[in-house]
Symmetry: D3
Subunit: 243 residues, 6 copies
């Protein structure tokens, strides 16, 4: 099975980190295919960057349409998730949605911890219709560079945040963002409930979907586009939209 692990920003180093996580998490026999968009934001941290990245990501996916069995969006914003599902002939999984869905199977309610602001995650989980079992979100006031500079301090702050979410009723914790994923080995023993890394969840759920061999919708908003005329996009994406 070949799973495309598609970064949505243009930073190759992040693609590599995500691919390594995916390889560590996948089943034997799964091949991880890393990919980076040819344009767009170096890192996504605003709504406008996310919108540009959506276009870039769709072009990236279009190049691999038909040659992979599933796609994992290696971006915590689940950028372009619905559009990618419509346009691709194979299952597409978003890392934050995947972690939230896995959390549904591990307990009654879940929390999410991230570095920095939580607003985008609150909005994303609401848009996914998955707020009902969300116990809370915690944003830890640490930057990724600070994590590298003083990992013990950062780890302790995150541990406290996790403890607060557990107190609020979380039976598991989604780690929001790539920086959090890197902290997982340190956190695992410090957390009283399971931690969910988005890349790992997405890869395993993508494998599960491939195993289910779902038919492609032939109607509705997830049916493959046909006969759509779009200018200024890559030939591969244009071809997908033409059908």
């Amino acid at each position: 099975m070949r799973i495309l692990v598609a970064n949505a920003n243009t930073t190759e180093a992040i693609t590599e980190v995500c691919a390594a996580s995916a390889r560590a998490a996948c089943s034997e026999g799964t091949e991880v295919v890393p990919a980076t968009p040819r344009f767009g934001p170096a890192v996504i941290s605003t709504r406008a960057e996310n919108a540009v990245a959506a276009h870039a990501l769709l072009e990236l996916l279009a190049e691999h349409a038909g040659s992979v069995d599933a796609v994992v969006l290696a971006v915590s914003h689940d950028t372009a998730l619905d559009a990618a599902r419509q346009v691709m002939p194979c299952p597409v999984v978003g890392m934050t949605e995947a972690a939230c869905l896995a959390a549904h199977m591990l307990g009654a309610r879940f929390g999410l911890v991230t570095l920095g602001a939580t607003e985008m995650y609150r909005e994303l989980i609401a848009r996914h219709g998955l707020s009902a079992r969300l116990a809370g979100l915690a944003g830890v006031d640490v930057t990724p560079p600070q994590v590298l500079a003083d990992p013990d301090v950062a780890t302790e702050k995150v541990r406290v945040a996790i403890a607060g979410l557990v107190e609020a009723g979380a039976d598991s914790i989604v780690l929001g963002g790539a920086a959090m994923a890197g902290m997982e080995p340190r956190l695992r023993d410090l957390s009283p409930v399971p931690l969910l890394d988005g890349i790992a969840c997405a890869v395993r759920l993508a494998e599960a979907l491939v195993g289910l061999r779902p038919a492609k919708p032939r109607t509705g908003t997830m049916a493959a586009p046909r006969g759509r005329a779009v200018s200024g996009v890559s030939p591969a994406l244009a071809a997908l939209l033409l059908g």
Copy 2:
């Protein structure tokens, strides 16, 4: 006051129709500035096209940043609305959101009628957090060409759909999509409740916002981007993202 009426597809004729609606609806002294993206879909009817159009629309808006007092997104999907709000220094109004907000001031609940499928509108209104007062959506099984070919038949079908929504408790009806807007003069007398055209509502609410002179957020997810590095976008958009 100068209001940018920004189409999100590349079809100039639709831009012109929307601009004409905007001019018919605006206050004396308001100047309507029509604009069309330089790339993207000819018409948006899939999720992937909407994602590409979001990028194209942001580039279009960036060209006018600082030279207009407000922006009306002349696209019923409210494409890129949040990103546009963040990136632009002036108020940005989406036509479907505007019509729904106006409906809140005209009665208890509202309905929405459109030609074709309603799913995208249901999703959009939910994402806007405005479902609580939605009495229902009705999709009329008529295509825009059929409207032109036999307007009486189309009008009668829409009239029946409106009557059904009113029966379900709608005190006003949002007309979803450009094709519906064109039918408004014929429908006005046939509807027992007020009809809301998205372009008209958006223009009037944009004027209202300009009059309120709201400050630009300095923090949070709507604060102007600063120092963001994004490749492969127009110089104007790149400049806005740099801050």
Copy 3:
């Protein structure tokens, strides 16, 4: 355009303050018509007073039916809003609803700050179906007299409350109640996000509605009453209810 600015309590001084705010906020060419009920509470601070004020307010509006283009309810409880919409031939806008609707166009989520208790605002926003994008409410423990006696202390307390709401995800802040409106000039520079004054929002949105020339519903719960027999009310209101 003539806009009735209708207070719902019997304190003329408050009517005058609201009318002054309305005049400061309205478009050129808009005439503000202040009005005060002939009976009811001096100030509304209980549910029972609000119920009595609803009756008094409807009598007040009935006197102006046909002679104004729109009505702004100058009362933060949006007293009798739905009944006023049904009975009046012109648009009616409530100041808190208006501020919340304007907030929808300025960001993703909004907060509300007020002096004293927040419970009535929580309930009101829920009843309006506008809770989905509410980030939080903050009640500042300061009375209007204390605001006058020591404005710096009061301002600082409100500033802290606003900062808390912004931390909780608010992209704009609705100022709840007349006392808050008076503090707006001091607060404007201290707030990192835009502040929304109910009277200003209501006046501008009322102008927008008048510009849209919406038809009056001919059926449903917002259609004008006909043939209703009500004793013990003013001749003007009795006439409106008779149709």
Copy 4:
């Protein structure tokens, strides 16, 4: 135990019908005290009438404050329910809220059937926060006079409506409005699920509340008003508001 059965319209005949229902439903030892407002609508069927009736009803209740053990609001709109709860020293029960609460104890979900439009009931149940277990509402197209003229036809129409609600998942049916209550004996055997009459439910739940001897709130929005100055109301109501 003395229970005030307070009509909210001025039609004595309706007061008598409600009082008779209350007497038929109450426990041995309960005394039913019927009461009719001195002003207001003959029948409530618009939002404005409901607002006027709220004032009239509060004046009516104020006359009995201290001399009754509980109040039943004999009006299907639950007019002024929250204000009455705040102002009265004893429990106050609304007939529609009571029927919905009783329905919660008889099954998973419930329906509501009424003559005429359902919109006001949908809104009322939502305002009460009781929509989660509402399976549906059905408005039967029959007027009260038609019920009297041809009861068999009316009964059959209601029976069909009830069957539809049961099909939609209702385990019990709330009868909305006084006219429905009169039909209950005919309907009882025709309905596959229990029927809930608002007056009967309200009387029995009022008795239950009296038996629980709940303390009066000393703070919050349900605490008794103190020191409120309100002009143009009856001396009894003015006294209650003064505290």
Copy 5:
């Protein structure tokens, strides 16, 4: 009237305490019939124990089917409530649901205070569809033995928790769990809002339902089982399931 007060754990002493509460709360003429399951958990504090207790409780109820007028489930988890309603020929009331329903009639919103964790109550109230008017839950970090050892300390902690819920908007407080019920006399004067004991509420509401003489549903998920073959259960329960 005979009301079965059915404990769901096997601890007779708790049955006796609940029966005493029920006798103190019931109307004159009501006979309280205490009952304890023959197997199951000594105390329910996990999900698995609750599941086992559901079976045991149904067997217990089956023994009394036909010989009591109503059932009160004397367990704060409202264990097996829906199943008991379906299988029994008389009304069945759960103590936590009953207290929440009573709270609806005493104010706008309510809170719940308990000793220990609140998660199970949050879930239960959500499952009952009664979260809309829930102002908050407070878990006090005191064990029942500590309550006995140092009641003043425990009472003070609970008082602080109640004050917090009132601050958050609660107009009444549901006392969650048997241990809380025992503290009610001490708390009554310390609370600014009414306290609701589950057993008392359940007994009074059960009496109210009996007075309403509701028909048993003949269809749907609350109709009595017929022809069901179940092995390994008591003869009485097997008989009820056979119909």
Copy 6:
């Protein structure tokens, strides 16, 4: 990997059908371990049977605790799901929850079709917090025997029901109940959107969870019971509850 496929009724034939489905759906290398409770309902179709089956199912699972890597509950009611998650040391997946979660990854909204009544599924999906993306439920008026007797008629009725759900916005269809699963091969080509069989989804998602190696919660409502005394249960379950 060993996955326990645990039936919740006592009918061995159904266990075998589910085990066969599981074997057809699982990955290479997964061993399916079928199991049937020693007591309880022959088929679950009432709330009381479901409650008894919960106890029986927990006893069944307890026998396999430690000897399997995951559990699939082969019962469309997701009987005892939360309790099983708490008590077992390995992941536990419910077949209806699993199908709904898979549906989240295949489109925007999903529908559910079943033979007979839909009420239990509506309730179950709401309890799982997964109603937000539910487009609708359809109950087909066909019994399992009728499916066997005239499969073409039954298939056509189900096809029509699926078409209706797709019209209502479903991008995929959950097949509710064992009888539906058997119809899947016939339906696959007739459905315009993918069909989701609960057993297949549960097995694949169970494999995914095992691959993620989630830690067992050490606190909260999903932590393993310790020191619980429960009489009248099997030694294996008693041991698990003792910890």
